[in-house]
Amino acid sequence: MLKYLKQLTSLVAVIAVLFAFTTESMAAKKSKTLKNTIKKGFVRCGVSQGLPGFSNADASGNWTGVDVDVCRAVAAAVLGDASKVKFTPLSAKERFTALIAGEIDILSRNTTWTLSRDADIGLTFVGVNFYDGQGFMVRKSSGITSTSDFKSGLSACVNIGTTTELNMRDFFTANGITYEPVVFEKADEVVAAYDSGRCDTYTTDKSGLAAQRTKLSNPDDHIVLPETISKEPLGPVVRQGDAVWEDIVRWSLNVMIEAEEYGITSANADAMKTSENPQIKRLVGAEGELGAALGLDNDWSLRIIKQVGNYGESYKRNIADTGILPTRGPNELWTKGGLLYVPPAR
């Protein structure tokens, strides 16, 4: 029997070593994500469960929104076709774990960029596509016109596992107001609870407030209070450990913003190939080898601008024209007084 035991142990050892090698080697390959995306033929994009202006599906299942456009830009760059995206609606709770688990490759879900998220849970934020802040929404009939009107005993509806939950606490504690947090998992449930009167106020990013207001039974009965109580830089997220993929997503977004800076639109992108400005020519792929640095062909940026548009076009189409937020606010180019200042694509 001892003989058998020894044989068994050696068998175990061999198998363990084999596995160690294979997994080690598998883990060491570069940009698996890019390879897998090309192999699958579509980009796997994690979005919200329905936030007008950012990621929302209409009745036939077509997704639109600024977050959606980020994923479409990556698809245009990597696969050549902005429509080759598979959208996975995720709640605030499962968004990070879906990304970590490999269910999606980009999380474009108006996610706030914070230190703990960047450093602690194995994810990387690759940019900001919407500068926002947290605010409160109340009923007009309540007579509250500013957060200084808040009194102790208030109940506030919020989404679970968001920076909103934490900021709300900081705000109320700083102002000495005792409040009752009512946390739900799905944004729809939060809105429904607020609408029914279960809570007196609803808090999330101001863009979210504006968007969700369209889902209330009487949107005109509610107002968004003017104060902004936190910084909420929203942007796309990818898994840590895949540097090439990070760069692709980061620069796809940057290209969209820089294109608007140089006045390149989806309409005139082709014409811009003959421009005088070398940077414009680089952005439309007529000059330079920017694509090769990312592992893509040189027309990647041209495809983004042509198929998705520049940042301004995306914003106008999804947020301004739909009435959610008619003005750009901080989401304007730095040359026009806003916060959009991206590194140059060269």
């Binding site: 068994l8 883990a27 309540s142 109940s155 596992g161 009512v182 946390v183 840590q240 450990g241």
Partner: protein
């Protein structure tokens, strides 16, 4: 070589080596288990290294920075650690499970007995109740109570005022009852404990007296007197007094009202307790019915033949035997109820799953540690109840040859 000769040669092989036959399958099982665990841990390690996450329980000491809505018994706010948040979640789970068990038992026993009533209407109503609430999933019942019923309650301004007494209110934000404010409350508590102990010893004395002399004392009235008089004395002499803090409507703005003071029971807790009780009561009712029906008719007839009234029969003959049949499956139902309380994650009740495996998980991202701790907590609760159940089963089992 066909299958038959192969299998017979294999069995001959093992037959000649009994020790091998004994140890080999076990060694294989151990190997298999170790292999699976090793494979999982290895992959987990590799994945976490790739993402730059580290494994450990240190995060439990970090500040949680989120508030919880319902924190009785524990002082909690965002500056406390995740470990405190875990404690709050655990206590909330135990609270809702206890409330659920209490009401489910009462309701279940009532309905179980009604099911056996000779009154056709009552029996039929119980049957309809059991069939309806047993066959609809618990999650759906929970959603119905929370989203459909409790959301339809009025705003605090128009809250339902029970009997117009201004003592207790029911609104969409919860049920408000007066808070008891005790002065010298511990004295009151000790007086109650003392009276219980006195009654216990008195009962023993009465029983001995009855066995020796056949004299019966009015046990019920004497114990009632003791349990009323002793605490009353503490009120009159001991300096114990009871004040009430009534919930009052406070206006926070033009249309926002809220109740301050008193104890508030949030609608999430009400919905969860309601759904759990109604659902589990059906199973307990069926158990009670099976228990009582399982007592052979001979017992009831024999009891009647020695002159016991139906009430005495129930109390002295039927119930003790029926309990033996009723209690094990009912304890199982209590276990199920405790596990089902985890559905609080679907509505906003801050129990262990929502607070720890929900918010804390989202904020720290430590999936493996948090989910393992949550599962271990429920496992400990279940194992405790199972151990008790096994002990009770052994104790009351009829010894069979």
């Amino acid at each position: 070589m066909n299958l038959k000769s192969t299998t017979s040669s294999i069995s001959d092989f093992f037959y000649a080596r009994p020790k091998l036959k004994y140890y080999l399958p076990q060694a294989l099982t151990i190997f298999f288990i170790v292999f699976i665990f090793g494979y999982f841990s290895y992959n987990a390690q590799v994945n976490m290294d790739n993402r730059g996450i580290d494994f450990g329980l240190r995060f439990l000491g970090e500040e949680s920075s989120f508030d919880i809505q319902f924190t009785p018994f524990v002082e909690y706010d965002g500056t406390k650690s995740y470990a405190t948040a875990y404690l709050v979640g655990l206590i909330n789970t135990i609270i809702v499970a206890s409330i659920g068990i209490f009401f489910a038992t009462i309701l279940g026993v009532v309905i179980g007995i009604s099911r056996l009533s000779p009154n056709y209407l009552i029996a039929k109503m119980s049957e309809i109740y059991i069939e309806i609430f047993r066959n609809v999933p618990l999650l759906l019942q929970l959603f119905f109570w929370y989203f459909a019923v409790l959301r339809a309650l009025p705003l605090p301004k128009d809250a339902i005022n029970f009997f117009n007494l201004d003592v207790s209110f029911l609104s969409i934000k919860g049920l408000y009852v007066p808070r008891f404010i005790w002065t010298n409350g511990s004295l009151f508590l000790t007086s109650i404990i003392a009276s219980i102990i006195v009654i216990f010893f008195l009962f023993k004395f009465f029983k001995k007296e009855q066995e020796q002399t056949g004299k019966q004392y009015p046990k019920f009235f004497i114990s009632l007197a003791i349990i009323i008089v002793l605490p009353l004395l503490t009120f009159l002499i001991g300096g114990v007094s009871l004040d009430f803090e009534y919930p009052e409507l406070k206006q926070l703005s033009a249309t926002i009202f809220n109740f301050q003071g008193g104890i508030s029971i949030i609608p999430e807790l009400m919905a969860l307790a309601l759904a759990l009780s109604l659902y589990t009561a059906t199973f307990i009712a069926e158990n009670v019915r099976a228990g009582i029906e399982g007592i052979t008719r001979g017992q009831k007839e024999a009891a009647a033949s020695i002159g016991l009234t139906p009430g005495q029969t129930l109390k002295l003959v039927v119930m003790p035997q029926a309990l033996r049949i009723i209690i094990p499956p009912t304890t199982n139902q209590y276990l199920n109820l405790t596990k089902n309380s985890s559905l609080a994650a679907a509505i906003a009740y801050p129990d262990l799953v929502l607070v720890f495996a929900g918010t804390a998980l989202m904020q720290t991202g430590r999936a493996i540690e948090i989910i393992s701790i949550t599962m271990l907590s429920y496992l400990s609760l279940s194992i405790t109840i199972s151990i008790f159940m096994n002990w009770y089963n052994k104790k009351i089992a009829i010894k069979e040859k």
